[in-house]
Point group: C2
Chain length 206, copies 2
């Protein structure tokens, strides 16, 4: 069985949990407290991921695959969650690289600072700059979603999963999603896809 090296607060890890749930792929998780340095121990760095990050998937044969979007790519191959058209495949990649470069470093990091660090953390000073860049990323998504149901083609794919993870909890980083109606409709649409599981089961509000 696959082992997901996981953290419940990580949107990057949730991407993997969501895809594996929608694929019906069984796995078990090992949880790490990221703020406590549990992914920076010598054991973790030597055996699991030298980059000191989760998620990592451990395969039954003992191999490890890091980087959330690479994991999505691996598991989505040959499934309904990855398009067959070459152009659409490239567009999935375009959105996934956009997510890691232009969205996650701002939308996810604001959530991290505001929910995981103490209220007197000096990193709170970063919030205005994170909001500015995060809103720019949200606007790019809004523009696409104003006349499309999903990010690529007409179909739900790992591009949507990759962007959904931190977008749907952007308010935890004090982003206001009310000026983004297309994003809010898309979030609701994704929660209605078959096999959807929430990031925070106990807190989920319908």
């Amino acid at each position: 069985m696959y082992i997901l090296h996981d953290n419940t607060e990580s949107g990057n890890a949730y991407k993997v949990r969501l895809l594996l749930a929608q694929l019906g792929e069984p796995y078990r998780t090992i949880q790490y407290d990221v703020t406590n340095g549990e992914t920076r121990t010598p054991e973790f760095l030597n055996r699991i991921n030298s980059n000191g990050r989760i998620p990592v998937v451990e395969f039954p044969d003992g191999r490890f695959l890091a980087e959330s979007n690479a994991i999505l790519y691996y598991f989505a191959q040959g499934s309904d969650f990855f398009p067959t058209d070459r152009w659409d495949q490239a567009e999935v990649m375009r959105w996934m690289f956009f997510e890691q470069y232009s969205h996650e470093p701002f939308v996810a990091v604001a959530k991290f600072i505001l929910t995981m660090l103490p209220p007197d953390s000096p990193r709170r000073a970063d919030i205005p700059a994170l909001h500015e860049k995060g809103y720019a990323a949200l606007q790019i998504m809004e523009d696409r979603l104003q006349d499309h149901d999903y990010l690529v083609g007409d179909k739900y794919s790992i591009a949507d999963i990759a962007l959904f993870a931190y977008t749907h909890v952007a308010e935890m980083g004090e982003f206001d999603l009310s000026p983004y109606p297309a994003i809010r409709t898309w979030i609701k649409r994704i929660t209605q896809t078959p096999g959807f599981i929430p990031m925070y089961p106990e807190d989920w509000k319908k």
Copy 2:
């Protein structure tokens, strides 16, 4: 013919120039002065890339593909530069996402600040933090390359192209590559691959 919306100082754009050269794919380029806001004009944002970045490839049918590593992925399909094995394909993705999240924002940005901004730029204060994180990324590459010729499998791929682009000019960002002998050997190995073209033709030192 393909049009590459390009900038000669951009390692991300050079990735595309290198792959297209090695594929023997003809294209023409349009150059943008990034520091002058030429990729942030309304025309560029509306027509070419709403994210305001190069490289972007314009296809003969008028479509645009953004994100350097998504462009590599598109053109490498079915070529020797993308593996056929599913695990190796995922590892290519793992290294390309590593590049955009854990390498480029530090190694490339240090080069940008030190070579493109004025010497009294306040962003020079970021250099120590960029060096710390950039060296961490270089060490991860060094560990892999100590006992492998290339980043994935035994073969040159777009993972190498993606990481080569900014690594081989890391010294322009005042990174010292002397403690990374495996990286230095790998850089030399890549310059000897068939069809290789340098990033800066006129300045290239053998």
